[in-house]
């Protein structure tokens, strides 16, 4: 654990990423305390530019809603959607990949053809179709994002399991009478964990982007304030009030960048041998 931290902190980008993410996380958690009022509430005149009223440092939008409150509440939505949808995607992808890789043969064929069925449809188009069918609530947004993002997990886990199952310690477990389920859960998957963790951190970033894109198109939950919705609502006034698109855009950029930096740092820390050599 100690050496893990040493390797992780050896990558300055990863540390910066972690700091940004912690800030975003703190903002998301404290949003209901700092901005107890609903972010949908009209509080000032519309189009108040940033840094003009001390009570609303980032100004107001086209309907006079507080931009800062919107960003804070949006942080919670973005992180919740990113994390939960990734957990759901892992819950689908890991078992599919593990079963396919461990049993091989027709199980592998069937599961992989099923996975490819999802992979052949452009993921964003599929997410739009799913949300057009479902109710656009936060829960269904999460489900839609999970459904389009599990196939890469299944692929990765299958590959790892394929190589691990031929290792001698797995064969020894077979000989010692352990059941296939025990072997997958206790021998194989713990050793496949590092790449899964790295992929998961990057998937959170993709999910945040996907949620923003869906909200931008007006397909998100209309009852929650999200960064994508803020950009979408402000796009018609981008020439007169550019900051209304720019500020939530920066929030998305920083969060996604932080997650990518963390993913890279985790990769270096968990796979020290694959680490890129310092120049």
């Amino acid at each position: 654990m100690k050496s893990f931290w040493r390797r992780y902190s050896g990558n300055p980008g990863a540390v910066v990423g972690l700091v940004i993410l912690v800030v975003v996380f703190l903002v998301a958690v404290t949003a209901p305390l700092l901005f107890p009022q609903s972010p949908w509430q009209m509080v000032q005149r519309p189009f108040l530019p940033p840094l003009t009223d001390a009570a609303f440092p980032l100004g107001t939008d086209a309907l006079g809603r507080d931009v800062l409150a919107g960003l804070a509440h949006g942080a919670w939505v973005s992180l919740a959607v990113g994390l939960v949808s990734t957990v759901v995607a892992l819950a689908i992808g890991v078992p599919v990949g593990a079963l396919a890789g461990y049993f091989g043969g027709w199980v592998d064929d069937a599961l992989m053809r099923f996975t490819e069925f999802f992979q052949t449809i452009p993921s964003f188009a599929l997410a739009i179709v799913l949300l057009a069918i479902f109710q656009p609530t936060l829960a269904f947004v999460i489900v839609a994002i999970a459904i389009v993002s599990w196939p890469p997990v299944a692929r990765l886990v299958r590959g790892e399991v394929l190589s691990l199952r031929t290792r001698e310690f797995v064969e020894a477990a077979v000989l010692s009478g352990q059941s296939s389920l025990t072997i997958i859960l206790r021998q194989v998957l713990p050793n496949a964990l590092p790449p899964i963790i790295v992929l998961a951190s990057l998937m959170v970033a993709t999910a945040v982007l996907l949620e923003s894109s869906l909200s931008f198109l007006g397909l998100g939950d209309p009852n929650v304030m999200s960064w994508g919705y803020m950009i979408g609502a402000a796009r018609t006034v981008i020439r007169t009030a550019w900051w209304l698109s720019f500020l939530p855009g920066m929030a998305i950029v920083l969060t996604v960048l932080a997650l990518n930096l963390i993913g890279e740092g985790l990769n270096d820390a968990l796979n020290p041998r694959l680490r890129r050599r310092p120049e």
Binding site: R167, E168, F169, A173, L175, S176, G177, Q178, T182, R186
Partner: protein, 538 residues
């Protein structure tokens, strides 16, 4: 007049390693046309010393003192560019594992031509002709074909010959061979040793040969340097060192080599038959494929033999002879295509489900690689108890038993709380043995169980196995490519070639007087035989 002189070379290990120096105060001379063997166990610093000569030390390891004199200058003071002029052109190297040393995506001919290209010699058309000549010189059977082959299309011995051709391309004065035969079969090893000897004779090239095997030393070395934990403990002419080793470590290394000339005691183990293999065959591939015909490999064909209680049978053969597949079919890690494996009336080859699980605990396996046979994320206690718990032993009883097992194989019970990476190769193999014994099997199948270990550790593990076998009344199938190891532990020997059993009989008889030519060729290929005969005659 020495060609290369290493003086007081010390290479520092990173902080936190088990010792401060990878190599400490190492010094030796290399005369033109001489074969110098650097011998030692793994971790003795022998490869590091050679890598320093090529300027190929891994990151984090630095030369802290000493000089390497070659061609009137110190190699260590050369710049990267200066080293590049040296590498390949004047000092060349061949490696242990030719499959990873060759680029898998390049044809062999192109890789040899690349050497000329890197040093800017010859015109493109000449490079190919020269590559062909080189391949012929290193004795590849069909150079015209080999030059167009990718590395994976060649056998291990052919790849090592290809590597040698690359190393010889620019007619270097020194060839450094880092365990070039360790990954090869005995027969192939004998051919490569002959090749190196012949090249030395024909070209007057000096060779630094790094090995852990004193048998190899006896066959080719002029002079020997023995290294232990980074230091040179003995140096001298090969004859001297082999016959009159002065340092106790050298003596221990030489004594640890299993002897073929074992007293030919008759196998008294005439217990009842415990395992009967009948007409066992295993064929890989052959399933109908959508595109193209698939390749069919007959890994094992019609193997039949009986194992009696308390007996050890050695299954010997080169790689690809089907000996491992046979072992895996017997423990049912692989399902045989045809034949029966009778274990006390049950045919394991055709059991499934609960019946298979019930039979399985009576036949257990010890694996080859002590590094991949233990789950790196599980503590030793868990590794040992998992099997017992799977068969319904209560948790606490299983832990008590695991502690007993650890003591049985010569480890402390405190090992339970540690992870596999905290142990050495030999200790890990002991843990693997303890795991195999946990289910109280009647039969142990050991697949190359000591092949990955240093000679001294190998001798200890073999002694442990012999002791356990006697104490626990085990029967054993001992799969190995090394006849010396087989002779140390086996009552009977089965010789396999291309999937078939070609010879079977008492160990003493096969080692003294084999019936088939193939078994004889395996015996002849054992390195250091002449030396051993000379020793036995004394």
């Amino acid at each position: 007049m020495s060609l290369l002189r290493v003086e007081n070379l010390s290479i520092a290990l990173p902080k936190g390693a088990d010792r401060p120096f990878a190599a400490e105060d190492v010094g030796f001379d290399l005369a033109p046309g001489e074969i110098l063997c650097i011998v030692g166990e793994s971790g003795s610093g022998k490869s590091m010393s050679a890598n320093a000569i090529m300027g190929l030390l891994p990151e984090g390891l630095d030369v802290v003192s000493g000089r390497i004199l070659f061609d009137g200058g110190d190699i260590l003071t050369r710049t990267e560019g200066g080293l590049m002029d040296l590498r390949g052109a004047r000092i060349a190297m061949i490696f242990q594992e030719p499959l990873s040393a060759l680029n898998p995506l390049m044809r062999v001919g192109a890789q040899i031509a690349e050497v000329f290209e890197a040093h800017g010699v010859l015109r493109p058309a000449e490079r190919r002709t020269r590559a062909l000549e080189l391949l012929r010189e290193v004795g590849l059977p069909d150079p015209e074909q080999a030059i167009r082959a990718y590395p994976f299309q060649l056998s291990g011995g052919q790849r090592q010959r290809g590597m040698s051709a690359m190393a010889l391309a620019l007619e270097p004065e020194i060839l450094i061979a880092d365990e070039p035969t360790t990954a090869l079969d005995v027969t192939t090893q004998a051919q490569i040793l002959e090749l190196i000897e012949e090249l030395r004779r024909r070209r007057g090239m000096a060779v630094i040969f790094i090995t852990h095997d004193f048998g190899v030393v006896a066959d080719i070395a002029d002079r020997v340097v023995v290294m232990q934990t980074g230091r040179i403990v003995e140096e001298g002419l090969a004859e001297e060192v082999l016959h009159r080793p002065r340092h106790p470590y050298t003596r221990a290394l030489i004594d640890a080599i299993p002897r073929l000339s074992r007293a030919g005691e008759p196998s008294e183990a005439a217990g009842e038959t415990i395992l009967k293999v009948e007409g066992l065959s295993k064929t890989f591939g052959g399933g109908g494929r959508l595109f193209g015909a698939s390749r069919v490999v007959h890994a094992v064909q019609g193997a039949s033999f009986e194992l009696r209680a308390g007996e050890t049978i050695g299954i010997v053969g080169e790689s690809g002879s089907g000996k491992s597949t046979l072992g895996r079919c017997i423990v049912r890690l692989t399902t045989p295509t045809a034949g029966r494996v009778l274990l006390g009336g049950d045919d394991i080859a055709h059991l499934s489900g609960a019946a298979l699980k019930a039979s399985r605990r009576r036949i257990q396996m010890i694996f080859q690689d002590p590094f991949s046979s233990l789950n790196p994320r599980a503590r030793v206690g868990r590794i040992l108890t998992e099997g017992m718990i799977a068969y319904g032993t209560p948790h606490i009883a299983a832990r008590t038993r695991a502690a007993e097992l650890l003591e049985l194989v010569g480890l402390d019970a405190s090992a339970m709380e540690r992870f596999p990476h905290e142990f050495s190769g030999g200790q890990r193999q002991r843990i693997g043995i303890a795991r195999a014994l946990a289910l109280e099997p009647a039969i142990i199948v050991a697949d190359e169980a000591v092949s990955a270990l240093d000679v001294q550790v190998q001798a200890q593990v073999l002694a442990l196995l012999a002791d356990l076998k006697a104490r626990l009344d085990l029967s054993m199938l001992f799969i190995t490519h090394d006849l010396r190891v087989a002779s140390a532990i086996c009552d009977r020997i089965i010789v396999m070639q291309r999937g078939r059993i070609v010879e079977m009989g008492p160990a003493a008889r096969i080692l003294r007087d084999p019936e088939t030519e193939y078994a004889q060729s395996l015996l002849d290929a054992i390195p250091g035989r002449d030396h051993e005969r000379a020793r036995a005659a004394l």
